[in-house]
Amino acid sequence: MARIDLKDLTIRFGGFTAVDNVNLTVNDGEFAVYLGPSGCGKTTTLRAIAGLEQATSGDILFDGKRVNDLKPSERNIAMVFQFVSLYPNLSIAENIIFPLKARGMAKAEIARKLDWVTGVFKLGDELKRRPAALPPGARQKVALARAVIRDPAVLLLDEPLSAIDEQFREEMRWELGHLQRELGVTTIYVTHDQREAMSLADRIVLMNHSKIVQVAEPDRIFFQPSSVFAGQFIGSPSMNLIDLVPVAGGLRLGDSPVVLSQSELPPGITARGAVKLGIRPRDLRLVSGEGHALAVEDTFSVGRERFFTFTVSDQILQGTDHRTQPGAGSVTLVPEGMMFFDAETGLRITEAAA
């Protein structure tokens, strides 16, 4: 087990900066998930922690010791790759014990560990087969077994579930989360799938354009996104974003007649420059009756949930209402769901800052 510190980590490939001055601490036993769009630098960061990429500058520390110059094999890490990296010429059992054999562990000890891991992953029937004979999901399970069999200090997972079919992915995700908690191994997981991140992470590290955008627990990153990017990247359907126009007595929602009065706004916000309103679809309600100026355009239902769209400033916005008896025709905003962002920087305006 180990604590990992990244200090001013920067990685450049020629003129391209893949990781830009990243600082992060992953605590002992923590499940940290790197989340971000493709090309944001999350995989590069992971590979640097593994020792497969060199840091251009900055330090990587395991339990306070600098490991920049250690080879991957000397870092006591284990890794599962996005694409199958099993040895095709070896049987499943031989694949799993490969790291132990490569280190020259005693035969009896190897057999004991293989027994243990076979039990954990329920791999009994597959042990004698070749990787090619297994479906992709099972192969990734074997890769995971190979990773944990040697009690690594750090477990690194690079989009391990992205090449697996939907149904099996869900199952593997639960198992993975369960396993990690059981083993208590410090884990860093890279994904672009927010659902994986939300369900697995102790903390999510959200990255964009080679930089860390926000580090927070899943709930906090959902309810208190630090920026427009964080707000829109997490949550599905995506958070709506509406320009606010200053008018007498408050701020107007784009070109709609709806005006948020001073009392509905965080104090001091009208004094700022351009401001945007962010509101998640789940914080919109369908209502009936007069006095509501946002007209619904389209609705459809999935089970009890109602999806609807409306337009502000030529932008089509989405809402979902899951109440048993929603209204029809108009849209209102749930005040607690309103988030305000600086239009210039994209950063969220919290009440303390405003």
Partner: protein, 297 residues
């Protein structure tokens, strides 16, 4: 019903029409010689004395050949040559191929330079090396004496000549193995190496446990191709020793050529050629089966 049937038969006619020139050419070029070869092998016949005619010999030619100690000696010599060549070429070729899979400056140039011996005609290479191996004034002995070793009569004794030929064949064909080996090594996904690196395997462990087994199908093809090619080696020994001293450096192919075109025992030569053909076809069949198995995967 009528319409499609007619269409199909004209289609079949078209296919036969298009294929027939190739099929005829193949029959003429391959089937005819093989059939006549087998036919001659069952007869006493000399191409030099057609007037004597052809008399049925049954298995006589085969019986004569297989009981002749001389021919076994040629098979043994050929076997030694094949073993030496293939062993040296495979080991060296895999080693060079492993070095060449890494990307470094000048790699492309080195690759091309290594291919050069392969592009020489074997007879040309043979004569070139015969001069270099000349006992009195050849550059090889010059270098040997330069480091204080005695001169070697390379081409006038069977064993040194065997080694010399094997080394020259290795010099010519190692690049071929290296080329295939490099391609095979480079076809192994990078993540497999990375996984092995993370798993803590030493480079040697990775090489013998992962790289080599994963490249085995391709290396096997290279091996069979070299086996076939070495087995029918003829040119080098013509250039080096002319089969001598005596017949001690004659390969089986050499014996076929000599029987057919020096002694003009056409029937006997045909029988020997049929035996040679069977061995080579056997090897080729292993190759083809292996290739089609690889295609299925």
């Amino acid at each position: 019903m009528e319409q499609p049937l007619q269409k199909r038969s004209t289609g079949r006619l078209m296919i036969i029409g298009f294929l027939s020139p190739t099929i005829l050419l193949l029959l003429f070029m391959v089937a005819y010689p093989i059939i006549s070869l087998v036919y001659y092998s069952f007869h006493n016949f000399s191409a030099m004395r057609p007037a004597d005619g052809m008399t049925w010999a049954g298995l006589g030619n085969y019986e004569y050949l297989l009981t002749d100690r001389g021919i076994w000696q040629r098979f043994v010599f050929t076997g030694k040559f094949v073993f030496l060549c293939v062993t040296m070429q495979m080991i060296l070729g895999i080693f060079v191929g492993y070095q060449l899979q890494k990307t470094f400056k000048g790699r492309d140039f080195l690759f091309t330079a290594l291919m050069l011996p392969m592009m020489l005609s074997p007879v040309v290479a043979g004569f070139l090396w015969r001069y270099m191996l000349n006992a009195e004034w050849g550059v090889v002995n010059y270098l040997l004496t330069g480091i204080g070793l005695p001169k070697v009569e390379w081409l006038s004794q069977a064993t040194p000549a065997l080694w010399a030929a094997a080394v020259v064949d290795t010099w010519m064909w190692t690049p071929f193995i290296a080329l295939l080996a490099t391609a095979a090594f480079r076809g192994i996904p990078e993540t497999i190496y990375e996984a092995a690196e993370v798993d803590g395997a030493s480079p040697a462990y990775v090489f013998f446990r992962v790289t080599l087994p994963m490249s085995a199908p391709v290396l096997f093809i290279a091996l069979i191709l070299r086996l076939i090619d070495c087995f029918k080696q003829y040119d080098l020994f013509v250039a080096f020793t002319g089969g001598g001293p005596g017949s001690s450096t004659e390969t089986v192919s050499f014996a076929v050529a000599k029987t057919a075109f020096s002694y003009f025992y056409t029937g006997e030569a045909s029988a020997l050629a049929v035996i040679l053909l069977c061995i080579i076809m056997g090897l080729a069949m292993i190759l083809v089966r292996h290739l089609s198995k690889m295609g299925e995967r």
